[in-house]
């Protein structure tokens, strides 16, 4: 045994004894991304709250909660289907895991469709990024920014679900990859829980 081997051995016993978090690298990377993305959304929501609090004639344009309630239900259900897909993947049931992942992607597409339909409805009523018929023009900018950022995440998630699902089916990815994607998808769901009350429910017309 060379001195180099001895040195390596000495290092490995100390440095690689047991990682403090004991989770796979890809999963840790996803968690770090989620923490960073939390800051992005939090900054947007705090900025939104700042403007809403500091602006006297803030509009309250939403008359119905039906659409946003349906969107919330769909997104929450997609989290459940994602979990079922992960359980199927862990159990080695490849076709079920692929099927549930695609159902999750489909629910994401329906959510995005409802979201865009709502946007178009507001645009038809005269709302743009810089003006609207109800009050301060800042409302449009903040509304489209916050919901647009979330919609971008949903769209990215849907694409990722389809790609990872197909690669899992083809054998290139395994259950760990489904779990890591699931973390992202649940995070998108989690953010929506803050967007709904702050952006929609607090702006209901009474």
């Amino acid at each position: 045994m060379s001195s180099a081997d001895l040195t390596m051995g000495g290092h490995s016993s100390g440095v690689t004894s047991e990682p403090p978090f004991s989770i796979p690298t890809k999963k840790l990377a996803m968690w770090l991304f989620i923490i960073a993305d939390t800051m992005t959304f939090a900054a947007c929501l705090v900025a939104y709250g700042f403007l809403r609090n500091g602006t006297p004639n803030w509009p309250r344009p939403f008359h119905s909660i039906t659409n946003v309630a349906l969107m919330t239900f769909i997104l929450l259900t997609s989290s459940l289907t994602m979990l079922i897909g992960l359980r199927s993947a862990r159990a080695g049931d490849k076709s079920a895991a692929f099927g549930w992942t695609m159902i999750t992607a489909l629910l994401g597409i329906i959510f995005a469709f409802l979201h865009i339909r709502e946007w178009l409805g507001l645009i038809d009523e005269g709302m743009t990024m810089f003006k609207n018929p109800w009050g301060t023009g800042l409302f449009g900018a903040s509304f489209f920014s916050v919901t647009g950022l979330h919609l971008t995440h949903v769209t990215g998630g849907v694409i990722a679900l389809i790609v990872v699902g197909l690669r899992y089916k083809g054998g290139r990815y395994n259950a760990d990859d489904i779990e890591i994607l699931g973390l992202y998808w649940h995070f998108v769901d989690l953010v929506w829980m803050f967007v709904v009350p702050l952006v929609y429910l607090l702006n209901l017309a009474h």
Partner: protein, 103 residues
Amino acid sequence: MTKVEEHTGIGKDLAVYVCLLALAGLQFLIAYQNIDAAQMFWRMLTVACVEAGLAALFFMHLWSEKRIFRWFVGLFTISVLLGMQYGWTDSFRMLVGAAPFSK
């Protein structure tokens, strides 16, 4: 997802899902209460935090990770979120002084 969780079945996931639906429903109920916006905001934010906690712990399996990792994620996130709250007093100043861009 840990080995233990793999064998607990879908019952827990369904229970958490139903809780999240109920909490989301509660937020909608709060929206129709006859209270001022500040009270409504705090109630909704509290419910949203409970929802987020449930989703992170059980849907994202944070509960089954090592304790040190839970502390890492929790403390790191909460400390930065708290750090972002420094601007609120200025938003009240804007309300009183009516900043030009708010008109």
